[in-house]
């Protein structure tokens, strides 16, 4: 699966937006990335803003600032094998060509289905945040819904079950 857009912004801004750990990342469904060190081999976790629940875990495979960030990706609420997510950034006329590539998500799995639906939203939200300063109205409504539904997340998604390095 490939999702590509051109974002009117700088390489540094796009890179910062997809790798930041100091605040929730709207493009990643408003989850906050937790990682001890941004380098290959580090474990990462995408957690709710409260930190109580972890939706996605993975391991960084490549970190070539500001051009390429690759990590394994596993939804904590599914028993599917992990897939690989790559973010490629390239400077082009008018901004940054941003490409999200998802590989090794077997067809028919819940992960493949989620990534097909989610990929468009990740790329669109990233573009919207960098070009307008915030996600679309519909996406912001969705974030409110996520927050309301957080307490009924499955127990297996609790963050203590998915520690990162050093926890």
């Amino acid at each position: 699966m490939v999702f590509q857009v051109t974002i009117q912004g700088t390489l540094a801004d796009v890179w910062q937006e997809i790798t930041r750990t100091d605040a929730p990342i709207p493009a990643f469904f408003n989850n906050q990335m937790h990682v001890r060190e941004l380098k290959a081999g580090s474990k990462l976790a995408m957690r709710t803003t409260s930190g109580k629940y972890t939706g996605v875990v993975g391991k960084i495979l490549e970190c070539d600032e500001p051009h390429r960030f690759v990590h394994t990706f596993r939804f904590t609420n599914f028993d599917d094998p992990e897939c690989i997510v790559a973010y490629d950034l390239k400077e082009v006329d008018g901004g940054v060509e941003f490409t999200l590539t998802v590989t090794e998500a077997p067809e028919g799995t819940k992960t493949a289905k989620q990534m097909k639906q989610g990929g468009t939203m990740i790329v669109n939200t990233l573009k919207s945040v960098l070009e307008t300063g915030r996600p679309s109205f519909g996406t912001r409504l969705l974030f409110v819904l996520f927050k309301v539904l957080e307490p009924i997340s499955p127990k297996k998604c609790r963050s203590e079950n998915w520690p990162i390095d050093g926890e």
Binding site: M1, V2, F3, Q4, V5, T6, T99, T101, G119, T120, V123, N124, F137, G138
Partner: protein, 119 residues
């Protein structure tokens, strides 16, 4: 950009206007990573003509090509279509239009099954 220069949206509409190019998009969407040769094998026209059509699709960002080893692999990129969808679809209409499209698909599938049985 001069007024005559096509906008990214113009490139998308021009690209999808041709039935062969729409078929190429279907093929690549169904088989991500398909090679140029793989696409060309589905058409009676020349490989050069296929490459010209693929170039139009790539210029519109509807296809993304990646060089892997010696071959160039093609992937469908849904983002330009999503952009067109977003332009004319509000939150409300996307909900109702989606439901209506689902209903249409279900009814037509049932009719097809019935026609096959009666045939």
């Amino acid at each position: 950009m001069s007024p005559e220069a096509p906008t990214p949206e113009d490139l998308v509409f021009q690209a999808i206007a041709h039935p062969a190019r729409r078929q190429m998009m279907d093929l690549v969407k169904a088989s991500p990573g398909m090679t140029v040769q793989g696409v060309a094998s589905h058409f009676s026209f020349s490989r050069i003509a296929t490459m010209k059509h693929l170039a139009r699709l790539e210029a519109a960002d509807l296809l993304v090509s990646k060089k892997e080893g010696r071959s160039r692999k093609l992937y469908f990129n849904p983002m330009p279509i999503q952009g067109i969808y977003d332009r004319w679809t509000s939150e409300d209409s996307s909900f109702w239009a989606g439901r209506m499209a689902d209903m249409q698909q279900r009814v037509e599938q049932r009719a097809q099954v019935r026609n096959k049985k009666n045939a």
